[in-house]
């Protein structure tokens, strides 16, 4: 902290320290989210908080804004230690957050949203006074130089305007600290300019702003200091002006070199099994082209919201796409619904397997047979359960699913074994193209390597795999080739021999000029 304070003296002159967070520790069941983290914020500065997905940025800020309670550590705000119980207390102290997923009521007006929970009432405390709310909101909008009708229904406004309302709401609490979580994700260039004007305006007023973002160019442009987090720990705080982006990326990734070499030695890139040409859907998917070869694992990397899942769902027919062509084994195919995709041998394993992949309350064998129960059903509609059980036993053995037997309920299995059940389901359905969306999400380390082994084995057997993953080591370890996406576009395609974490991050943050 001394080091950063000194640096700051040189660049910005002495400023009041607004907030000090020290030794913040937080665990969730099974995850040590924050390991004695620290963070410091001065009045009138914009302080970037960066790190890979899962580094603990959001958790730290949720503790600051009263959404979560910390397990350990101190939060010192304006020289006094504070303990927060809930978001309202934080707001009243002047600590506000503008969430990535905006927390507004779409059916209410702008002013009603801003003053929710503290409506203006008359003497009788019975009736709400919307006129007063509108007047106050209008005054704030004027001060912010914002052209917006306080009576406009929020659901009909653009995302940028909704964000401005969130900011206005924060200001109406007389905020001293404003946390912005990925504020530019849904904004256009000119809207970002407006937002930055607003940020500079607030900065001049002495508000301390925490700016969470993945976008290095923006961080370079708007922030004064950068704090880097990695795997729930504090890494370093640097001055933006004296740092280059590469340095920050190195800090984010860490200097540890992941020792495991690529596991999957594939042979040739001869047979194209899937080709996607000019796939488009609005802002989510922009002109996506790629080929998938037989027996390869194609890694899809990128930040959250880069459009990877959207592409996968479009190929699988779960969402519609606007334009584009899909070829399976050289044949042009039309995929409008998931059953069409399955008919062409494409299986999709959702990142949220509990919601989309499994019927948790049912048994292992019921889950494995779910997608092709027809195979085991006679003309009268009776299912031959004994052959279902036999088949399930085969797969339990083949994929080494740890379960007492095929009759065990899936909810009693560990995350890794649940994932294997989903894989078994699609294998039984004769899928040659398997799309894995975050295959190791929520799976512990030991089980991860088993899933990796299984993926390699499947590829060796001639299955073609698309693996979407936000974990860079995983991408580098498993893929033959890596496609990097950013904002719906493919920004890079890397051969595994030349790919590195730094290079992937560079492409993943490469925004459209």
């Amino acid at each position: 902290m001394n080091k950063s304070a000194d640096l700051n003296l040189e660049v910005r002159g002495l400023k009041d320290t607004l907030l000090v967070m020290e030794g913040i520790d937080k665990s969730f069941p099974g995850v040590h989210a924050l390991d004695h983290c620290k963070f410091e914020l001065r009045a009138g500065e914009v302080h970037a908080l960066v790190g890979e997905n899962g580094a603990g940025k959001s958790t730290l800020m949720k503790i600051l804004t009263g959404v979560y309670k910390k397990d350990e550590g101190k939060v010192i705000y304006k020289g006094k230690e504070i303990e927060l119980n809930g978001t309202k207390e934080a707001q009243e102290l002047g600590i506000c957050i503008v969430h990535q997923e905006l927390n507004l009521m779409p059916h209410l007006t702008a002013a009603q949203n801003m003053f929710i929970g503290r409506e203006f009432t008359g003497k009788n405390k019975l009736f709400v006074n919307d006129n007063e709310a509108n007047k106050r909101a209008q005054a704030l909008f004027d001060a912010m130089n914002l052209k917006l009708d306080p009576k406009a229904k929020v659901g009909k406004l653009t995302v940028a305007m909704q964000q401005m309302i969130e900011i206005a709401k924060a200001l109406s609490f007389d905020s001293q600290i404003l946390v912005m979580d990925e504020p530019t994700t849904a904004l256009t260039e000119s809207e970002i300019d407006e937002l930055f004007k607003m940020i500079n305006h607030l900065k001049a007023k002495g508000v301390g702003i925490v700016y969470i973002s993945h976008r290095m160019d923006e961080i370079k442009r708007i922030t004064d200091r950068i704090t880097v987090m990695r795997d729930g720990t504090y890494v370093d705080t640097v001055n933006t002006q004296e740092t280059d982006i590469q340095q920050v990326i190195n800090l984010m990734v860490g200097r540890t070199i992941y020792e495991t070499a690529n596991e999957h030695n594939y042979t040739d890139l001869n047979e194209v099994v899937l080709e996607v040409k000019n796939l488009n859907r609005g802002k989510a998917i922009k002109n996506v082209n790629f080929k998938l070869y037989k027996g390869e694992i194609l890694g899809f990397s990128g930040l959250m919201g880069a459009g990877r899942t959207e592409v996968a769902r479009a190929i699988f027919g779960a969402d519609k796409y606007e334009t584009g062509e899909i070829y399976v084994k050289g044949q042009k195919v039309t995929i409008l619904r998931p059953e069409h995709a399955v008919g062409h041998g494409i299986g999709y394993l959702s990142e949220d397997r509990k919601r989309y992949g499994l019927t948790l309350g049912e048994t292992v064998e019921q889950n494995i047979a779910l997608a092709c129960i027809d195979k085991y059903t006679n003309k009268l509609g009776f299912t031959d359960m004994s052959s279902v059980t036999a088949t399930s036993k085969d797969y339990i053995e083949k994929l080494s699913i740890k379960t007492p037997g095929p009759k065990q309920k899936v909810k009693n299995l560990s995350g890794g074994n649940q994932q294997k059940v989903v894989i078994a389901k699609w294998l039984l359905r004769d899928c040659d193209i398997l799309i894995f969306d975050e295959p190791t999400k929520g799976i512990d380390v030991g089980a991860k390597s088993e899933i990796y082994k299984l993926l390699s084995q499947l590829a060796k057997e001639g299955k073609s795999i698309i693996m979407i993953s936000s974990e860079l080591p995983e991408i580098l370890r498993m893929s033959n080739r890596v496609i990097v996406m950013c904002e719906g576009r493919i920004t890079g395609e890397l051969d595994i021999n030349s790919a590195s974490q730094e290079e992937i991050i560079k492409y993943a943050t490469k925004r459209e000029a």
Partner: protein
């Protein structure tokens, strides 16, 4: 921007229901000479009262995105309680009215507590309360109707008339209609002018965001169900006054008509939006339809079929309109 057209989304919703009502009125007037008579119109309005008051209550719950299946039988139990208080115990009428409203509010409070604090689904929680109140009505009344024969002025709450005109009061408007309209005004004020109304929309629009804004969602949700129950209690009074008796076996099924009224009036079952005016018009559409078909001589069983079709059609139109807006 908003003033460009009166046919923007908020208005279209009202116009759709209102237009449907006008079309129905014109259609039945042309179809039957007995439809557009003073007596018949009064009879339509009178038959709207009970369902209308129930609908005014349940719209609050529907705007939160919830449902209350118990209002029909809560209404019955409230009327039985009024009967017990007034006839069996000999208490004054106003006291019986208050007891009925409190009874309704109590069961709403129970549903609301179970839903918001114990996190039971509204459908299940209120299904339970529906059966409880259905049973209690029979238990408390001894399965027999309670007549208000000792208090002849009780029935005036619905059947009497403070507004008469024409020669020797030839045309009289029954009080039940005024009770309904007054309740509608009260509901509109609560929904649009009070904190409860504001949180009502907020919860239906985005419950989590409302909670994160520091609003005690559980408390307000409970209050909303209690309010819905109070309206059911008032409906019980009007119902008992119309029949001059508390009928313990009646009431089940009324909740569905009330839900239909709300939905035809343009309120989404998903929550977050809805208007009192729409609900009032929705209630009138249902009773106009029933009455008109009856006047035309359509068999009762077919009336139900047609009402069902209208309900589905109304909701379908509304959904299509909303899709068009996006």
């Amino acid at each position: 921007m908003e003033k460009k057209s009166i046919f923007n989304a908020a208005n279209a919703q009202k116009f759709l229901a209102f237009g449907a009502l006008i079309i129905l009125l014109i259609f039945f007037t042309l179809a039957s000479p007995f439809f557009l008579t003073f007596d018949n119109i009064v009879s339509i309005m009178l038959s709207t009262c009970v369902n209308g008051i129930l609908a005014l209550g349940i719209i609050f719950v529907i705007i939160t995105g919830g449902i209350d299946l118990s209002i029909g039988t809560v209404m019955t139990f409230s009327s039985v309680m009024a009967g017990v208080t007034i006839t069996n115990m000999g208490m004054p009428i106003w006291f019986g009215v208050i007891i009925a409203i409190l009874t309704g509010a109590f069961f709403g409070f129970v549903s609301g507590t179970v839903i918001s604090r114990l996190k039971l689904q509204p459908f299940i929680a209120t299904l339970g309360v529906m059966m409880i109140t259905k049973g209690l009505s029979l238990v408390v009344s001894g399965t027999k109707p309670i007549y208000f024969s000792d208090t002849p002025s009780f029935r005036k709450i619905a059947a009497g008339s403070i507004l008469k005109f024409g020669a020797e009061g030839k045309y009289s408007v029954p009080n039940g209609i005024f009770v309904f309209l007054v309740m509608a005004v009260i509901a509109a004020v609560i929904l649009n002018k009070t904190k409860l109304g504001r949180y009502n929309f907020a919860i239906g629009s985005n419950e989590e965001a409302t909670r994160l804004s520091g609003v005690n969602v559980a408390k307000w949700k409970t209050a909303i169900y209690a309010l819905c129950g109070a309206f059911a209690g008032m409906a019980g009074i009007v119902m008992a006054a119309r029949l001059d008796s508390a009928q313990p076996a009646l009431g089940a099924g009324y909740e569905l008509d009330a839900i239909a009224s709300v939905v035809i009036g343009g309120t989404s079952m998903v929550g977050g939006e809805g208007t009192i005016l729409g609900t009032v018009i929705g209630a009138f559409i249902i009773s106009t339809l029933t009455n008109g078909l009856k006047v035309m001589g359509v068999a009762q069983e077919w009336q139900i079929v047609i009402t069902g079709c209208v309900l589905v059609l109304a909701v379908l139109l509304d959904t299509m309109r909303k899709r068009g807006n996006k």
